[in-house]
Symmetry: C2
Subunit: 399 residues, 2 copies
Amino acid sequence: MQAVGLVVEYNPFHNGHFHHVQEAKRQTGAEIAVAVMSGQFLQRGEPALVDKWTRTKMALAGGVDLVIELPYVYSTALAGEFARGAITLLDAIKCSSFGFGSEQGTITPFLNTFELINSNRQQYNDSIQAAMKTGVSYPKALHQAYEKLTIGQPDQYIDLSQPNNILGFHYIEAAHSIKSTIQPMTIQRIGAGYHEDADRTKHIASATGIRKALSEGQDIAQFVPPSSYKLLEEWLTKHGAFMSWERLWPLLKYAILRHTPKQLTIFADVQEGLENALIKHAKASSTYQEFMTNLKSKRYTWTRLQRMLAHIYTGITKEQLQAFTSPSYIRLLGMTTEGQRYLSVNKKNIELPLISRVASTKDEMLALDMQATTMYGLGMELFSKQKIDEDLKTPPIRI
Amino acid sequence: MQAVGLVVEYNPFHNGHFHHVQEAKRQTGAEIAVAVMSGQFLQRGEPALVDKWTRTKMALAGGVDLVIELPYVYSTALAGEFARGAITLLDAIKCSSFGFGSEQGTITPFLNTFELINSNRQQYNDSIQAAMKTGVSYPKALHQAYEKLTIGQPDQYIDLSQPNNILGFHYIEAAHSIKSTIQPMTIQRIGAGYHEDADRTKHIASATGIRKALSEGQDIAQFVPPSSYKLLEEWLTKHGAFMSWERLWPLLKYAILRHTPKQLTIFADVQEGLENALIKHAKASSTYQEFMTNLKSKRYTWTRLQRMLAHIYTGITKEQLQAFTSPSYIRLLGMTTEGQRYLSVNKKNIELPLISRVASTKDEMLALDMQATTMYGLGMELFSKQKIDEDLKTPPIRI
């Protein structure tokens, strides 16, 4: 029984994701699809629109057979760490392949790019560092270094300015670094650029476009499977709103202002005077949007600032984040009957403990996932009278 | 020009306080009354019903000529420290006397009690420590030790089980410890015990009774001067509610759960396993009342727990609280024309800097007052669309 792995956020699960799951299964011939999904906080440093249980239901309804949680430590990390956490878990659960969506759409240029960078690692890193020293952001520095490396023969390589290509590169790099035999494959993203607004003439829009449409109160039925649509509607009826940084702003502002500048530096990425800027702008801002607009500078990307804010919000310190070398468990969020069968068959080969029900916080990495869930839940309590399910003792969703 | 000093919270200013101001002036012959008033957080560890500016207006309308702020460090401390901060300020601003309300009502038994305890300090302290070791609360231990000391001749001494007598004792002790020549006098509290409910047949009720009546939506016009009544009404119209721990509960709960047990121990009084109890009960409780009922044990008084919570709420650590030996400034919150005249006349004799307008946070004790005001203000934002005045650049109220 073969499984193909997917690295996902499903924020929310849409038609593009549905297409991706079907294609990954079809092209690899795998019988089941395993999604390693971020929990309540995502790689762009944002709280998920709806909680992980609801997104798990969407995934299972959309063709995924097993949903496992990407621990907070990885789900809110830079692309490299994010990829390493995810691929390690897909490898540990014995996926024979993994498939990712990309702008590129074919795997050979990814392998070429990885080979090129891997054999010129020192030169590449030096060149990134040099660019950073001129004051540009990390993504820009990386782009400049890459252009230098591929000069004269760009067609053999991927375009590393495309967000999904970047992630794909990191997945391949991660598989190599953990010496996994897992086989990469890629599927061309169709119908929508990463940051594009939802196009009403199509049935596929990016998750970013869909979230924007949702925040503006527009109907998104054409972009998501009926199951997702129903779950989003149910959430809205139950809680009155989708989760967002704007909703969490009163708590985030309070969290920031509760610290001295020095105390703030215990959180990852709070450095180089950002501790003072955080306090200054939090005091002066009434909304999250206003705050971020004031905080944003050329030096830091929006997502880097947001990841830093996620850590401040959850109270998870740099020391806590850096205490780990590798995922220590596989947390099951949901499974179909097929997914369950896959687990029974492969149980003895899976090296990490499978966690169906969180009984205690003894595992420190898992404790951080629970912390993130609790903090997400407290944010919900500001606008919803209904509580979300907490980690403790919530069993996996089964369909 | 003589001034009598008063140590107050005015939460809110009521008829008993009005009586106290008039009597203090009459009995001492002082031309003005100076009140050293707690800011946004009080000695019982509670946020004030209405902010310090509104309470300053009440005080000025009620006969007080100068209102100065008791710094947060002292306003939320145990009775001994609270008294030391307050008396030091009244001494620094050159009050010739200070008057306090007491159950006792005459000063001689206070002086006798102080003399007795002061000359038997070691025996008294040993006896308190011994009682504490049997597991009783601090006030109980103190009571037992005191009974032992005064055995056979209780009539010459004050009843140290009465809350206002305790405070009075500490004021006299404080004056002695700073070698002040300030003269103590006391005024019999009339009409209401400290913890009694408001009695509708009278015109005097305790602040506790009045707060309870307010929280139940009862009319309190008979218990407060018309000026206080008007200010309370205006506050309610503007903000929709009075401040309370219950209102701050979503933020307090978030603050507690954002920490690991170990991190919580940086706050004063979080020890002996309270760090775990805080997290456990915060998770399980929907209201402040429920939380406190679960947290309360024989070992700790309600007010001690609340003071600890005030520090957790404001984010002010044990280290920050313990950084000071004595008040470093006199913060003016409000003054009448007479009060202003007093300051002009005595300016050269006043040893501490007079602060009318907070321009910066360079003084670290003052920075904590500002921090407490900011945190109180963020709590307000949960239920009011109107902001309170912040410390920065708010000038004293003048009438």
